[in-house]
Point group: C2
Chain length 163, copies 2
Amino acid sequence: MTKIRKIFTFLLRLLALAATLSATIVMVTSHDSANVLNLTFKAKYNNSPAFMYFVIVEAIVSGYNLMILSLASKGSLWRVVIILDVVVALLLTSSMSAALAIAQVGKKGNSHAGWLPICGQVHKFCNHVTGALVAGIIAAALYFLLILYTLYTVLNPLFVVKP
Amino acid sequence: MTKIRKIFTFLLRLLALAATLSATIVMVTSHDSANVLNLTFKAKYNNSPAFMYFVIVEAIVSGYNLMILSLASKGSLWRVVIILDVVVALLLTSSMSAALAIAQVGKKGNSHAGWLPICGQVHKFCNHVTGALVAGIIAAALYFLLILYTLYTVLNPLFVVKP
């Protein structure tokens, strides 16, 4: 039973690592330029604080995940890992939501605020951002699953003894 | 010891309820209008999907918190409550981050995308949004503290017996 649990957790972390790495790379490599009224208009991820925050969090979580995967067999730190996993899930959700909010304005604009959509001009940039966001959403979902599974297995033994 | 834990958790929830209720009310009551080039320009929270998401989450969490506080003495559902608390913390963080990202564009604009700041025109609206966001950040921080404390108390007994 514990072996199945370990394999499942390992697989979830491996998939999450793939997702966060993809999100980082796809977002960092996103750039495009367009000519509007003789002005060259360059779009890059670091033009938006929300996208920069997204890249930083996805990169940090990739590193964290790699570290945990390489330490997988040592079980003495598992309590700290549970708490760190919750922190990581919160960071992933936060950065993904912020980037998604900005991407929504980029795609649809906001007529009330007078912000025009930019995806018509920088189509390639928008496609990259969309790809990175999908990877970011998958990473956040995998971490959510990981936490739920960990909590379930941690709380499960206590179903017998009432605290 | 269990009594101190209950009182502390109750207080955290009560403070979180105050914060989410304030965030909801302050955001919903935020509206302002300005005249720019003879056009009346109205700012309301429901002009932005991110702000609407923020209001919906803060209102739902207020209701959830009120329900949990009224059920506080019944301890049989505590495992479900731990998992729900994690979901609520993720929702709070997500909505707060999305609203914060949009508010940042509202305040500073984004010259690269050609989005102008709007806070100069609708000062009252921006103050309301700032107030709501501060309350939202406090609510998310209180929930983070609540989860950390719950995890600590749940994991603590297991420090003796290795799983």
